[in-house]
């Protein structure tokens, strides 16, 4: 059995002062190899928690994650992660950052070099191979993070707001890059975002989550990611279905946020 199966996961955080938070409740999900899924939801609905469980950093209180027939028990190279920022190693050059995964595997230097050079060229970092991380802009750093993850050739790539800290223009370019890499490499990708547009453009499947307890609210299947692979993303936004879907999701999340606000006001 191939693909990623998230099987009826629940997560409850026991608080040190007593009481607990139900971060996730009965979340189930199946991803086929090569699928690209974006996840949206109001703040605090458990997106990061879900991703951390899939990555293996957290063990769920109930349920399990199965990848290619094997239950996930901890982090491993087959599930790569791209963080929002600050996860690069400042003490290494760009090249060494990208080559970290292959080096950990004990890959031969020549082979490693080939992979790293290729990925740095693909991500447009060809001229920055020997630079230090702190000499790069935020957008370049995220491209390094992406390249580093790909260099390890994982089955699944998990991204937690990878473009959240970038400006609008850089972000748009990076979205194109993600789509391109997705198509070229055929990786299974889960991408968390706060931007409805990004979720629409970068999601073959789009998952909307609801808070308290964190659960799956609604799932969409969208054509935009496929279109975006070979077209300008701005053209994709002109598609007739794009705006109605966007409005629908926006008001859905808006209502959830309203509800949270209202609830905390009455409880306060």
């Amino acid at each position: 059995m191939t693909g990623l199966a998230i099987d009826d996961i629940s997560m409850r955080f026991e608080l040190p002062k007593g009481g607990s938070v139900q971060a996730l409740k009965n979340v189930s999900l199946d991803l086929k190899p090569g699928e690209l899924m974006s996840v949206l939801g109001p703040s605090g609905c458990g997106k990061t928690t879900l991703l951390n469980i899939v990555a293996g950093f957290l063990a769920p209180t109930e349920g399990k994650v199965v990848l290619n027939g094997e239950t996930v028990v901890g982090p491993a190279a087959e599930r790569g992660m791209v963080f929002q920022q600050g996860a690069l190693f400042e003490w290494m050059s760009v090249r060494d950052n990208v080559g970290f995964g292959p080096k950990m595997k004990g890959m031969a230097p020549g082979e490693k070099r080939e992979i790293v050079d290729h990925l740095l060229d693909v991500t447009g970092l060809g001229d920055f191979k020997e630079k230090a991380i702190y000499e790069l802009s935020g957008g370049m750093q995220q491209r390094v993070a992406l390249a580093r993850c790909l260099a390890n050739d994982p089955d699944v790539i998990l991204m937690d707001e990878p473009l959240g800290a970038l400006d609008a223009l850089t972000r748009e370019k990076m979205q194109g890059l993600v789509l391109k890499l997705w198509r070229e490499t055929g990786k299974t990708i889960i991408l968390i975002t706060h931007s409805v547009e990004e979720a629409l453009l970068l999601g073959e499947r789009l998952l909307v989550m609801a808070p308290r307890p964190g659960r799956i609210h609604k799932e969409y299947r969208l054509p935009f990611a496929d279109m975006g692979v070979n077209a300008d993303l701005r053209e994709v936004k002109k598609h007739e279905d794009y705006n109605p879907t966007r409005e629908e999701i926006l008001s859905m999340i808006w209502n959830m946020e309203e509800e949270i606000m209202g609830r905390s006001e009455t409880s306060a």
Partner: protein, 420 residues
């Protein structure tokens, strides 16, 4: 007090002088100089080099001016040196007579022979007295008088001004006090300068330095004294780092180590190493082992805490990233935790070196056969203030040099510090 006021005046005065004259000299057109918000932006405040130079000049100026240095053109008024006289009036059995006292105030170092002097007429004979500069002396004016104190003679006036026991009269170049028992005491004018035993002049210190480096002091060459102090520091520091850094890592990575050593480290951290000197002397004596144990202890806790802080300071996302890139525990340690903790360890090492240097000097003050601290301690027993000051300056220069070296090493080895 006066010195402080002069110092403040120099500070303010040179500020306005430099601002008025040299603005165009220091104007630079780099990025920082283009910042408009400088007040409150610490990074925009750079030391004004002119101020640093003038600060050092000011210190030497004041030092020289108040020690009568020949290097400095202006001087604070010095002590009176030379001949001065005053007269006294003695009264006995209703009759009075006047005598003259000649006081020769000489530099403390060379006391001249007292010259012969005609006693003069009347029953109160003239006197002569030798007094060192900055000192004062009792003058038994009645000693050679025909009618002395035993004959009921009392001194009633000095320079024509009436004086009583515990009284005082201002005379040329000094003050005459009368003790409770009626003896005169002459204090020559002291001036504003410092006596060499308190503060020698800069050139005295310099020539002493030259002499020390040529002849050594207390059986050891100057370089040996300083070298031994440095050697102890380096040995103690290296031992402390060799034990402290792994211990700190272990405390940052294992709950058992953390639990076991937390009480010890937290207890030992606030104990100043100086407080351990007596105990270390009891245990290990005053020899080299004792000193190195002391410095080891001084460096140990600092390095342990720095390494522990380095481990706990690692961003969890970096560790997560490394694990999901397939790193093993050991690889995470080797490629993430250790490099990430280096900046903290360097900060700790700088602190530890500073503390060790201070501690070694203190330990040598207490007991040592050689070393910078021993040198100044022995010199102070003999009131050789110039050696003491030479030693203090050398200790300061070496401490500063150590810190600069550590900073250079830091810039070279952990260039990413503070830029993550």
């Amino acid at each position: 007090m006066t010195i402080l006021l002069i110092y403040i005046a120099l500070f303010v005065g040179s500020f306005f002088a430099v601002k008025a004259v040299g603005n165009f000299l220091t104007a630079k057109s780099d990025f920082t100089s283009l910042k408009t918000v400088t007040f409150g932006d610490e990074s925009a405040v750079r030391a004004n080099r002119a101020a640093s130079v003038m600060s050092i000049v000011a210190i030497f100026l004041i030092w020289g001016a108040f020690t009568g240095s020949s290097l400095v053109p202006i001087h604070a008024p010095g002590p009176f040196i030379g001949d001065t006289t005053f007269t006294y009036t003695a009264t006995a059995d209703g009759q009075s007579d006047e005598g003259t006292v000649r006081v020769i105030v000489h530099p403390v170092a060379d006391k001249p022979e007292a010259p012969e002097m005609a006693p003069g007429d009347g029953f109160a004979k003239d006197d002569i007295a030798l007094i060192g500069a900055w000192r004062s002396g009792l003058i038994r004016v009645d000693q050679n008088d025909e009618l002395g104190r035993d004959a009921g003679a009392v001194v009633t006036a000095v320079n024509g001004t009436a004086i009583e026991p515990d009284g005082r009269v201002q005379v040329d170049n000094g003050v005459v006090n009368m003790t409770r028992r009626g003896t005169l005491n002459f204090t020559p004018y002291r001036g504003w300068q410092m006596e060499p035993v308190w503060l020698p002049s800069p050139e005295t210190v310099f020539w002493r330095l030259v002499e020390l480096s040529r002849d050594g002091y207390q059986n050891f060459r100057l370089l040996e004294h300083l070298g031994w102090s440095l050697l102890r520091v380096v040995a103690g520091f290296i031992l402390g780092a060799l034990v402290g850094i792994p211990l700190g890592y272990a405390m940052g990575l294992s709950d058992w180590f953390r639990g076991w050593f937390d009480p010890i480290v937290e207890f030992m951290r606030p104990v100043p190493p100086l407080a351990l000197i007596p105990l270390v002397i009891i245990w290990a004596g005053i020899g080299e082992p004792g000193k190195i144990i002391l410095l080891f202890l001084a460096a140990l806790w600092i390095m342990t805490i720095a390494a522990r802080a380095g481990v706990s300071g690692v961003k969890i996302t970096k560790v997560h990233a490394a694990y999901s890139l397939g790193a093993s525990k050991w690889q995470v340690m080797r490629h993430v935790i250790i490099p990430n903790s280096l900046p903290e360890i360097f900060t700790g090492a700088r602190v530890a070196m500073g503390v060790c240097w201070g501690t070694v000097v203190a330990a040598e003050l207490v007991a040592a056969e050689k070393g910078a601290g021993m040198m100044i301690m022995v010199a102070s027993r003999f009131q050789l203030t110039d050696i003491v000051i030479t030693g203090i300056i050398l200790i300061g220069v070496i401490g500063y040099g150590i810190d600069i070296l550590m900073r250079q090493a830091e810039n070279f080895l952990v260039p990413w510090k503070g830029r993550a």
